[in-house]
Amino acid sequence: MLKVNDINVYYGSIHAIKGVSFEVQKGEIVTLIGANGAGKSSILNTISGLLRSKGGCIKFRDKNISSILPHKIVGMGLAQVPEGRRVFLKMSVQENLEMGAYTRRGSEINESIEDVYERFPRLKERRRQVAGTLSGGEQQMLAMGRALMSKPELLMLDEPSMGLAPILVEQIFDIIKELNSAGTTILLVEQNAQMALSIADRGYVLETGKIVTSADARELLNNDAVKKAYLGG
């Protein structure tokens, strides 16, 4: 479904992503793990078009999207929950969700909103509140809910558990699993490697802009090097 081939990203003179290639099959949960600054977010941003790769090619559903503008990519069924939530702080919760459905039209939008509220009852309580005054966790829920509003085929999540209460982390991971079983393909970036690998089908380990290991999630969980570096063991 998604095929990333030899992408390179530069920030000025900093070479942040160095020839990364990987792929995500339809229906999979794939996770990218790596230390701070390894380049995980940069990869997601490149896929969604916010950053541009020098050379290389990104194929989504067999279409080269490496030079398509980000807003068009969303329309093709690829959504991203960006790092740091980035909800629209001055808009209400409800409006944020509506923005998520920007590419869609029609009456099912309201149903989708209700679906999201069902998943995150807390959001329903705060539907009229301005997103800027939500707590960190509430914002994270909102960001996920918003991404779901576009009914994506591939959902990219950038550290969705960051700053969330344990109970919510579980909930978020449950939602991810649920979404996946409902047919959404997931590309997950996580610091919480333990959790991520436990729900993922496959994983890639990223170090300073390069993929160093790729394997089945189960294998990675038992990989000593991975254990030592990312699982605190």
Binding site: S48, G49, L50, L69, P70, H71, K72, V74, G75, A79, Q80, P82, R86, V87, F88, L89, K90, M91, E95, E98, M99, G100, Y102, T103, G132, T133, R146, A147, S150
Partner: protein, 294 residues
Amino acid sequence: MNMSLIISQLINGLQSGSVYALIALGYSMVYGIIMLLNFAHGDIIMVGAYVAWLAMVNFALNPILAIILAIAACVLLGVVIEKVAYTPLRSSPRISLLITAIGVSFLLQNLAQLVFGAGSQRVPAMISGPSLTIAGQYVSFTAMITIVISVVSMLLLTLLVQKSKMGKAMRAVSEDMGAAQLMGISVNRTISFTFAVGSALAGIGSVLYCCAYPQASPTMGSMLGIKAFIAAVLGGIGSIPGAMIGGFCIGLAEAIISAVGLSVWKDGVVFAILIIVLVFKPTGILGKTMTEKV
């Protein structure tokens, strides 16, 4: 002061206030989306006035056609300025954008001076109609039409921004361009649209201005722009009804100050009002205080 004098002074104030308000709306919209004090906005009005003048005097066109041409020219100019001068600076510090806007403003003024000469040109009447008499006081047709058009523009604009999809896209883009793109919003199109609407308002403002003060001169936009901008700030920049209220406040304040014989202090008093309002209500009359969540 007798009653009819007061009424006629109020109408004077409302008329000039309406023009300020229209222009302030444009300022507010552009500010709202890219946080730019678009100093070139006033000069767009100047170009509109010259286009109207050219159309009617040099090409002897019908006034209606001249009005359409003037508005179209403003829209085009606004969008082109945005594309050429502001788009490359999207990710730059805001002050660079501000200086660019000032540069564009200077450029338009000086080009106009080069092309049309330094003196002003008389713009023939574009709108005419029957005048009214209210409370024994004569009210000109242009005054009425100016007030009506600006109120209608404000209502339409409020609807546009609050209700339409494009309006929501505008608000989203103004907050976080990256996230807006992830929602499937075309940032370029949204910003261009905003500039087009803002400039169209400038175009309308320009036509109404010329009806009231039928002259076009290269620097006519700068003071007008600043006043309108103050109106926008006074009302709470980014707020559409705010721009309207601000415009009327300034117009009325000027009229009242002049009426009581303090006209030489007019500009000073207008600015003093602004400062006092800002000190007590730092975000303007209708501006929302957004406390930063820490």
